[in-house]
Each structure stands twice: as structure tokens, then as C-alpha cells.
Symmetry: C2
Subunit: 173 residues, 2 copies
Amino acid sequence: MSGALAEAPPAAATEPDAEPHFDVIELLFFAYRDFVSDPDRILTDYGFGRAHHRVLHFVNRQPGLTIAELLDILRITKQSLNRVLKELVEKGFIEQRPGVQDRRQRLLFPTAKGRSLALALSRPQDERIRRAINRCGEEDRQAALRFLFAMIDENDRDHVARLVYGAGERKGQ
Amino acid sequence: MSGALAEAPPAAATEPDAEPHFDVIELLFFAYRDFVSDPDRILTDYGFGRAHHRVLHFVNRQPGLTIAELLDILRITKQSLNRVLKELVEKGFIEQRPGVQDRRQRLLFPTAKGRSLALALSRPQDERIRRAINRCGEEDRQAALRFLFAMIDENDRDHVARLVYGAGERKGQ
DNA sequence: GAGATATGTCAATAAGGCTGACGTAACGGA
DNA sequence: TCCGTTACGTCAGCCTTATTGACATATCTC
């Protein structure tokens, strides 16, 4: 431990005992910590938590989303989802309609109230993003998007790409 | 809602009703989702959760960290911290030593076992980062670091910069 | 010596996640 | 038409991680 300047190993491609990328690991932690804390005050005003935010966000972004797709996005169990989803429906932020081709499905749609809250929740996050772009430039934002995308599980990248960039209404109504 | 191609507003600087940056919002969510799931399997082998991981990580990175500093990093209450910290100490992953200048402080140090586990936990995350760099290049990684850093609360950036880049042993021993 | 600080602890509670088991309705193919 | 599968809901119990509030102890600082 003492004696910090040990011999520098010859920089090989993917050397086995290279220092982990603690900078990425930690900046991701700190950025996410502050990022998700933005909407918290608004959420507590409605008696909601971060779980409600995530559900409302994706339903708002993908009107007509099915339960199964939402479970796949959030990576939680249907029991966990159901509790928060039920509250969002009861309080009038999300509507369920039976699927048209497959009536077993419950397609999820935001109500006007739901869209409004989703927008309000995204606002402080968007402001944070805009301040960051002001600091470090649009090129860094685009590079960050590429990097974050590459950090996603390979099997899931196509799915995420469709969700993020191919968004919009898809089913029902 | 219907009639998707409404008039495109003239692109002003910070126009008030511009579309929020859903791409950043969502890619941050998905990248973080997969990123934190990496160490989960290892953690359950030890009976630990993600809270233990966070504590062990920062103690390992900043040997001699105080409780107060750790609370400030994690943004949780001392009661929450204490439970997981106690378990890490009892199981021999972290050691406490009284501060030298201020004996009220309990300085936290990783044991050899703690350093080893911290390294094991960082490995899958580091591999994910390396794969991402292979995909999109070192320049994008550096841009992503700048962008993530700019996403942190302004008041906290100096502190985080010291933590991330000015790391190393600081106190005691 | 007195007040402030750093930390520990007890107790109660809440949010958000899990597993397991079971029920219902609808789809889809033999 | 029957039957297995799928999509979803629900009941019950449990765990982890967080919270608030109150109080205790040791130490620092003035």
C-alpha cells in the first residue's frame, strides 16, 4: 500500500490489471444521484415516489404501452409494478384500455392530467440537461448519448433505440 | 394530440416550449439500470445489497473517509448508513479507527478483504465500460465524463472533482 | 465549564422491491 | 370445440433501504 509509484506496466491492449475506470463509475453515480433527485419535491406533493415517476414517464412517452413491455423496461416484477400503476390509475393519471388485436392486453395511456404531470416532472431534469449543455457544448451531449447507449446491455440496445428515437403513439385509439 | 406535424417554432435560444431532452433522460435511465445490475450477483453471494456496495466503493477509494463525508456523498441519513456500515465492519470488510487530529471522528478504511471485494465488484462494471469504449471510442468517453460532470449540482462539483480525480489516502495511518 | 460537533442507537414507519401461489380471461392451434 | 399458453391481476409474506424523531456519548473549542 505504501510506495505509490510502483513500476508502470507496459501499456498493452486491455492489460489485465489496469486500473478500473473509477471516473466513469463515480461520475455516473453522482450525475444520476442529482438527476433523479430533481423531481422528488414535485412527486411528494402528489403522494408519489420515484417508481410512479418511472411508470408515468414511459407511459407518457409510449402511449399504448402494454404491461409486459413496461415490465421489460423497468425490470421489476408485475407485483411491484401493479401497486404503483394502480395508484396512478386510481388518481386519474393513467388510463387502461383493452388491446384491440389482443384483448388480454391492457394498453396504458396517460390522461391529460398524466401528461401534464409527466411534463412537470421532466422540466427540472431538462433544465439540468440544458445547463450541462451550456457548460460543455452540444458535441459533448451527443458523445455522451453515444457512450450511454453503448453502456446498455447489447441485447437490449435495439429495443432501447426504438423506445428513445422511434417513439410516439403506436397502438389503440 | 392528433396532427403530429404542428408548425415548427423558430429555433430560438432556450425557447420556452422546446421538447425536453428525452433522449438524455432515457439513456441515462437505461445505462444506469444495466450498470448497477452488474455487481448484484456477486453482492448476493455475500448477503450484501447495493447500499453495501456504495459504502464499500467510496471507503475503498478514499481510505480514511469520515462518516460525515460518506453521508454527504451518499445523501442518506446516518441511521441508514449505520446499518450497512455496521454489517461491513462486522463481516470484516471495513475497519474503523479514531481520527488523529479529531478523535471524535471514526475514519473508515477497507481491509484487505474489503479491497478485494471492492475490486471484484468494480470488475464487471469496468468491463462494461471497456466494451462501450470499444464501440464508440475514447473521445466519446471523455466527452461523456465532461457531460456527466456538468450534470452534477453546481455546488457539489468541486467536491466531486476532488473525490474522483484527487483521490487517494488522506488521513490517519 | 459550556456549547457545539461527530457519531451511535432505539423505535417506528414507509417505499419499493422480491418470491410463491393462485385466478381469470383471451388467444391459438389441433 | 377443447386445451394449452399467454397476459394480466391479486393475495400473502418477506426483505432492503430509506425516512423521522429522540436521546446518549465522547470530544473539540472557546
